[in-house]
Symmetry: C2
Subunit: 201 residues, 2 copies
């Protein structure tokens, strides 16, 4: 008896969807069924949106952001402060800062963190291009908004060493209590940092 | 400052993906980033597979399975037993039985269960077509493989009443301990059913 249930097209779709983060074989199957049942409302629009993304999305040659234009809409936005660069590990971090409306300067996406274990060397990241951008005369400050992980901090140290000769300010994100966070649930490192960096009322 | 981060194409893709079961806005964003980073290996194949599914997948006019041919490959498979029909609520149940290799007869997908609360009436499900199929002279048995939920059982009762006049066997799935299941974690109903239907060694 054939073990094929619904044709190779559907099986292939399930296999590809199962490779997305957050989806496994089971949830991919559910998603495909949901798509098939909602052909007009979901399957067709998704097929179209993916084809558009495939044809149009490019990586910004300046900052590494994903956009449909190069340089990206952030790099070419005249309202942004072109004297400050915020360095992030990943496009998702850039998106997070943009969603928060937390930054109005430029960005630079490293594309990961240095890692001896995983064999990620400085030349595997967008560090040389950051160096070149930071050396431009209009740059006043570079903010290292890398994650507060060991790899992130190692990468930040490497970059601060590299950029130290430049006449610019180097900064990092503040540590402290997350807004809305409960002290009871925070780790000792965060609490110590929050106490040390306490502010007067 | 613009809150647009990466162009309307990407935002649209995120919005559509977020509607899939198992994905929310956050995981949809992660999935889109993953797709963009793996354009050749993931984004392009997925766009293609979705376009193929959109253009080719049809609902089988006989049994309700999703396939690229109509009648579906199961309905037209000459190796399957054409005298027995397994009735399931959803295509996902059909797929589950096929993955298990548990059934070699034909299927019939109801497309849901009767529900007074959600206003699902017999005419909203593929019940009339089941009635017609079950009345064919070659049919010997109809297995009601609906879920062991209140709605599933209500639907099963309705169908057994409807098909009772026919000269066929009507059966349902056995209740019992799942293979590999631990008694400690099973509900009383399942345990009672398992004791009642106990088999001799």
């Amino acid at each position: 008896m054939s073990r094929r249930t619904a044709g190779p097209e559907i099986e292939r779709l399930i296999q590809i969807l199962a490779k997305l983060p957050g989806l496994g074989p089971r949830s991919a199957r559910r998603a495909v069924l949901h798509l098939i049942k909602n052909r007009e409302k979901l399957l067709s629009p998704l097929a179209l949106a993916l084809a558009e993304a495939r044809d149009k999305v490019v990586v910004c040659s300046v900052c590494g952001n994903a956009d449909t234009v190069d340089p990206c809409s952030l790099c070419s936005d005249p309202r942004r402060d072109r004297s400050v660069i915020c360095v992030v590990e990943d496009v998702s971090d850039l998106w997070a800062l943009e969603r928060a409306g937390a930054w109005s300067g430029l960005y630079h996406v490293l594309g990961g963190t240095l890692s001896a274990i995983e064999g990620v060397r400085p030349e595997d990241l967008a560090i040389a291009s950051l160096s070149a951008r930071a050396a431009a005369p209009e740059i006043r400050e570079v903010v290292l908004a890398v994650n507060a992980t060991v790899e992130g901090q190692t990468t930040a140290h490497y970059i601060t060493d590299l950029l130290k000769p430049l006449p610019i300010k180097l900064s990092r994100l503040a540590h402290g209590v997350p807004v809305g966070g409960e002290l009871d649930y925070l780790d000792e490192g965060t609490l110590t940092a929050a106490i040390r960096s306490r502010r007067e009322f």
